[in-house]
């Protein structure tokens, strides 16, 4: 069949599917992400005991857990390609944007699994309940998109470095800081029972952040990936 018979989206999903299959068989990233999240949640739950901190602290704790759990696993998406020597053939097999979006979708799926696991555990173990679920979910979805967008390009940058893990977290933190501040604010409002008026400023930061981060990643990826 001619090459035009496979759409661009089908190529992207082929990359995501390959990563899902490899991850399902090796559990390279998901184990470290889930273990980190579970251990941190348990430690915080035990440390807090029966006390119930205010919504400001709970919102910050929620995103600290999500941020560091994500840091422990999301970089694997490119590190694994470099360390196993498959990056070279991947570079020659398809164009950079197919790889970027394939990996971005995979990281989004990992974050979705992480969020689905963390949210109920956080609510049960830390005895906190979002008063406004719509705002909470908006913050979570936009936060996950920004987190995945930023970490995917950063993972591609650090994949060739010697001290990948440390560099990934160090590089990610300043880039993700505006995102974290905005989502913590939104989550705080959701936990405290505020309305949409209270999160408009944070949304004005968060939505452009996600758009800009993915746009910049698309523009830079080919250069980063080919080096």
């Amino acid at each position: 069949m001619p090459s035009s018979s496979v759409s661009w989206a089908a190529k992207v999903f082929a990359v995501t599917r390959k990563d899902i299959m490899a991850e399902f068989r090796t559990r390279y990233a998901i184990n470290s992400i889930l273990m980190f999240a579970l251990v941190t949640l348990t430690v915080i739950s035990v440390a807090l005991g029966i006390s119930t901190p205010d919504s400001d602290l709970m919102a910050a704790l929620f995103w600290v857990i999500l941020f560091f759990a994500a840091m422990s696993g999301l970089a694997q998406i490119f590190i694994r390609e470099e360390e196993s020597g498959t990056a070279l053939i991947l570079k020659l097999s398809t164009d950079g944007l197919v790889i970027f979006f394939g990996k971005l979708i995979f990281n989004l799926l990992l974050l979705a699994i992480l969020s689905i696991l963390i949210v109920p555990l956080f609510i049960i173990l830390l005895k906190v309940n979002p008063q406004n679920w719509t705002i909470f979910l908006i913050g979570l979805v936009l936060g996950d998109i920004g987190l995945a967008g930023a970490t995917t390009i950063i993972a591609a940058i650090v994949a060739k470095a010697t001290v990948k893990g440390t560099l990934f977290t160090v590089l990610s933190f300043p880039i993700l800081l505006p995102l974290l501040l905005a989502v913590i604010e939104i989550t705080k409002v959701a936990f405290g029972g505020g309305g949409f008026g209270d999160i408009s400023l944070s949304l004005q930061v968060l939505i452009p952040y996600d758009v800009v981060m993915i746009t910049i990643s698309v523009m830079l990826f080919d250069f980063v990936w080919r080096q």
């Binding site: 090459s3 490899a22 991947l90 080919r226």
Partner: protein, 205 residues
């Protein structure tokens, strides 16, 4: 007509010269062998030709009917087989073929994959995980993945590395069959392999 022109190419890593003044002109249907002792820069030259590294000076130009091709255009025509290139251990032979066919925009049937595996001597091993393959079997699968692309620019680094005698015969036959349908570049020090090429690029002299 597809052409490759390498003009006064030089590569330095810091103060260390790898090679300089490399010139090579190849047209579709022609082949060249890059020869030279270990560390003379054969693999580095292949990486430069692949567009995955930049030369210190000089030019590498792929063109077709007089029009210069950019990386994306010649990447689609290019395949590489090399000992340092790896396939996905966590996938089976078929899954690897299926993945590389799909991301390259080709829909192929299982029978076509089966026929490719037959061609490289891996008949009946398509459902095994690549992680369970021997290094020789992995090398054979790399040829199957390369052939999927029907490459018109075919780069082979150490063609018979890790292969047994039957594997070598398969690969040499494959090189002979691809020679007329591609620009073929082989990096090797094996006489049986470089004698398959018409031009030579000697490094480290």
């Amino acid at each position: 007509m597809l052409k490759l022109e390498i003009d006064k190419l030089a590569k330095w890593f810091g103060p260390r010269k790898i090679f300089e003044d490399i010139n090579l002109n190849l047209e579709f249907g022609q082949s060249a062998a890059i020869i030279g002792p270990n560390g003379s820069g054969k693999t580095t030259l292949l990486r430069l030709i692949m567009g995955l590294s930049y030369p210190t000076s000089g030019n590498i130009i792929f063109s077709e009917n007089g029009n210069k091709l950019d990386f994306e255009q010649y990447r689609k025509k290019m395949a590489l087989v090399s000992p340092y290139l790896s396939l996905y251990d966590a996938l089976t032979g078929f899954e690897n073929l299926q993945f590389f066919a799909k991301v390259d925009g080709r829909l192929k049937s299982r029978d076509e994959f089966e026929s490719l595996l037959n061609k490289v001597g891996l008949a009946g091993r398509g459902d095994d995980f690549v992680g369970a393959y021997s290094t020789g079997m992995k090398q054979r699968l790399k040829y199957a993945v390369a052939l999927l692309k029907e490459p018109t620019i075919f780069l082979i680094d150490e063609p018979s590395a890790n292969l047994d005698e039957s594997g070598k015969q398969i690969v040499w036959e494959l090189i002979r069959s691809r020679k007329e349908n591609s620009i073929l570049i082989i990096a090797t020090n094996e006489k049986e392999e470089y004698s398959l090429a018409e031009q030579f690029c000697k490094l480290g002299s």
